[in-house]
Symmetry: C2
Amino acid sequence: MSNTDRRKFLGTAAALAVGTTAAAAIPSNNMAKKYPIVHHVFFWLKNPDSKEDRDKLVEGVKTLAKIETVKDIQVGIVADTEKRDVVDKSWAVSELLFFNDLKGQAVYQDHPVHQEFIKNYSHLWDKVVVYDIANV
Amino acid sequence: MSNTDRRKFLGTAAALAVGTTAAAAIPSNNMAKKYPIVHHVFFWLKNPDSKEDRDKLVEGVKTLAKIETVKDIQVGIVADTEKRDVVDKSWAVSELLFFNDLKGQAVYQDHPVHQEFIKNYSHLWDKVVVYDIANV
């Protein structure tokens, strides 16, 4: 390594180290700034007691990660939290997607990977509820 | 810098560089691994047309970031996406919280900051729907 290269490397290393420290110091609200548009879909299964159908749908939702405007994806099932009147535990699979902007969300809607997902997996669900959220 | 220190520093720098490259190579699904428990709350206002009430509730929800087990928080309003039958646009404020585990979510429920939020802001809402999600 030449002296110039070493200086360059150390400079990059220092920048990385500073970046890491800064990120760790912010307790929360990082994602809200990063991906301002959130798309949360809840699926109710045609066979609500079928773990096989649930797992198949989870597998299907995960294919949506391939869409280039999907910046992050979380696929979930009902968590084992306390039963309370306000908590809806009747759904089966949750699809939480993050976009940079409304345009990214529109690209996702019409994307062949999304269309393929609907074609291959929609026979599994009975009901879908969608929430589109703009972070403030 | 002694030779030992330099070796240590270069080692750390290399590890950070590798970490950064690896993260950049994964297109998505980072948060799912980071915060496996998601708590998504939707609020319907008593005065659905009051932007003042909406903004006040947004301000209230943001106080929840102070709770130590809340690892990330996104506060949102209805996004200007296409109107479709499956999209619910009747709510006013969305609270999306991320936890490390179920215990963290339980701590949040009973936390004084959460109780204070309910005391000070619950007069604003008419209905609440909660989804508790375990990422898979």
